[in-house]
C-alpha cells in the first residue's frame, strides 16, 4: 500500500529532509504533499486525501496545536494519524497534543530508524516497508 503523506513545516529544507527520510525508512509513498503551516495544510486537505500527517509544532500563521484542533473538530479529518516532528521534547509541552489525539512525536534530531519505528507503531499491520533498506550513509 502506498501512503499519501502531508508534511507540514515552515522550513522547506526540513520538509525535503523528512520526505527523504520517509523513503529511507521504508515507507512506500504515494503522493507527498507539503504545507508551510497549519493553514496551508488545511487547504491541501480540502482537495486531497492523506493517510498520515507529519507536522512541526512551532510555525507562523497557524501552529501545530491549532492545526490539530482543526483536524479533530472535522469529521472528515479527525481520524487521520498525526505525528509531530519537533525540537520540543518536554512532556509538559507535548501532553496537550497527546490529549488531543496526536498519535505520537519524533524529537529532532532524529534518525531514520526513529521515524520507521514510530510509523510502524502507528500504522500497525498496514505497514509494509518497501524493498529499500535503511541506508544510513544516504541520510
Amino acid at each position: 500500500m502506498a501512503y499519501n503523506v502531508l508534511i507540514v513545516d515552515d522550513s522547506t529544507t526540513m520538509r525535503a529532509l523528512v520526505r527523504k527520510v520517509l523513503n529511507i525508512a521504508g515507507l512506500e509513498l504515494g503522493e507527498c504533499f507539503e504545507g508551510a503551516n497549519g493553514q496551508e495544510a488545511l487547504e491541501i486537505l480540502q482537495h486531497h486525501w492523506v493517510d498520515l500527517i507529519l507536522s512541526d509544532l512551532h510555525m507562523p500563521v497557524m501552529d501545530g496545536f491549532a492545526l490539530v484542533e482543526n483536524l479533530r473538530q472535522n469529521q472528515m479529518w479527525q481520524s487521520i494519524p498525526v505525528v509531530l516532528i519537533t525540537t520540543e521534547g518536554r512532556q509538559e509541552v507535548l501532553a496537550p497534543f497527546l490529549q488531543k489525539g496526536v498519535q505520537g512525536y519524533i524529537r529532532k534530531p532524529f534518525r531514520p530508524e526513529d521515524i520507521r519505528e514510530k510509523l510502524q507503531t502507528i500504522l500497525g499491520e498496514a505497514w509494509v516497508p518497501h524493498a529499500r533498506e535503511l541506508e544510513g550513509s544516504d541520510f
Binding site: K20, K108, P109
Partner: protein, 144 residues
C-alpha cells in the same frame, strides 16, 4: 548549563549531519573568512538566545550532509535554512536536557552572514568552541 549546550550540539551534529566535533587544542586560527550565524530567541522567565557561528565552508558541508546532496549542489538558501534549523535543534535539545519549565518557549530562528576576517573575537564565557573537520564552530548562549 554549558555541559548541556555541548551535549545538545554533539547530539545534533552527530545525528543529523554525521559530523563528529572535537575540542580544539588552540582556536586562534579556527575562525576566518565568511561565516553564517544563526540563533533562536528563547522567551520565558529569562530571555536569551541560543545559536551558533559556522564558517561558510562547514555550513555548506552541513547542508550537503543534511540533504544528501553534493556540496556544489547546495543552494545559498539551503545553507541558511540548515544553519537555522541546527540552531533550532540545539536550542530544543538544550531546553530538554536542562528540563526547562514549560514557560520557556523557542522563537523563530534568525540568520546573519558575517565576515570573520579582522573581527576581534572575544572570549565568551557562555560559548563553546568546537572543531569539525578542521573548521571552528562556536555555540553560544547569550542574553537577548
Amino acid at each position: 548549563m554549558l555541559e548541556s549546550l555541548k551535549a545538545a550540539t554533539f547530539e545534533v551534529l552527530e545525528t543529523m549531519f554525521f559530523l563528529f566535533p572535537e575540542n580544539p587544542e588552540d582556536n586562534a586560527d579556527l575562525f576566518h573568512g565568511s561565516a553564517v550565524k544563526a540563533w533562536v530567541p528563547v522567551q520565558g522567565p529569562k530571555s536569551f538566545r541560543i545559536g551558533l557561528t559556522v564558517p561558510l565552508s562547514l555550513a555548506r558541508e552541513m547542508a550537503a550532509n543534511f540533504l544528501g546532496l553534493e556540496k556544489d549542489e547546495v543552494a545559498p538558501d539551503n545553507i541558511d535554512d540548515v544553519v537555522k534549523e541546527t540552531a533550532n535543534m540545539v536550542a530544543g535539545s538544550f531546553l530538554w536536557k536542562e528540563k526547562a519549565p514549560e514557560g520557556f518557549q523557542l522563537g523563530p530562528p534568525e540568520v546573519l552572514h558575517l565576515d570573520l576576517h579582522g573581527l576581534n573575537r572575544q572570549n565568551n564565557a557562555n560559548a563553546i568552541v568546537l572543531v569539525v573537520d578542521e573548521a571552528g564552530l562556536e555555540v553560544f548562549l547569550e542574553k537577548s
